[in-house]
Symmetry: C2
Subunit: 213 residues, 2 copies
Amino acid sequence: MRHKRGLVIVMSGFSGAGKGTIVKHLFETYPDNYFLSISATTRNPRPGEQDGREYFFKTKEEFESMIEQKELLEYANFNDNYYGTPKAYVEKLVNEGKDVILEIEVQGALQVREIFPEALLLFVTPPSADALEKRLVGRGTETADVVAQRLAISARESHLMNKYDYLIVNDTVEDSVKEVHGIIQSEHFRTVRNEEAIKKIQEELKVFAKGDN
Amino acid sequence: MRHKRGLVIVMSGFSGAGKGTIVKHLFETYPDNYFLSISATTRNPRPGEQDGREYFFKTKEEFESMIEQKELLEYANFNDNYYGTPKAYVEKLVNEGKDVILEIEVQGALQVREIFPEALLLFVTPPSADALEKRLVGRGTETADVVAQRLAISARESHLMNKYDYLIVNDTVEDSVKEVHGIIQSEHFRTVRNEEAIKKIQEELKVFAKGDN
């Protein structure tokens, strides 16, 4: 039996760990199970992009008001533009029973935990630092300097791994996708997520209780 | 990737909830995955029973010394005989990387949590109190008085459901077995169970760290 509220699942981990690929395959393999959150941003829409589809497009003032009102699960600033996850939209999906996947960087992931404590935090890592370096170099899109910088950030982020709920050692995408799916499905059976079902059976059993209850 | 230490899984729940059947099918479906603990008891061996196979047979003095030395994960007294789970045997299996299933009553299950905090506690319940009553009556082996007594105990035990980690609403055995298997497999990926893997990658990444590390 499944409880009715959806889960918020934060996929995070080292840059180059393959979390984007895992999320992509997760949606392809289980298209009816998972939903992506839509981010808010202050960058300009590109041709063909629609407000509420690719992004929620906001002015700088609107975005900063959202920060102030704590309407964002997490946010960051890249190249002078804000990007963030609107809490209201995620809440809406979760209340509809949908499992929402957020793919975000490590700092953002830990912000989500503060605002949304029941969120599930998954950390994706390659099997070794060596494998991580090979993947970053192998992309061929980054200079040696950028690769070194990413690895330095990973070294720093590795000290936050213990703050996550689950560790996905991404050896093959197929295995990782199965693991992530299994973890999310199993989390639905946690007693803390099934308080209604527990209350229901407690109520029903009351008629059988002896005086000691 | 799997961590090396096995898990202790406590299957518990209402009398008549079907936990014995779930455990039986779990072993049949995944014979290589799970191991049963062997209980200690003070009752006399029956013909064909071997010490260390069906039970560890103990004298009353030996058993009470085990209680005193906290060598039991849980114990109870039925019909003037002690029954309990020896901690050393469970530790041995777990250290060999084996997932050990304990099928025990509610009070015993919560004793295990105290002595073995990392144990996984699963509570099995039928979908409703009505279904529970039907199953107890349907067995045809119990008098109406015994059924009433069991239901009264269930009413009392229902207030301890929140102390468990996971809730299995046992509608069909097949689904329940899949759920239990999925939960156990997923729990292996918890960061708290993978501290060695985390330390390994932290160590490896140190060479890439900048001065701020």
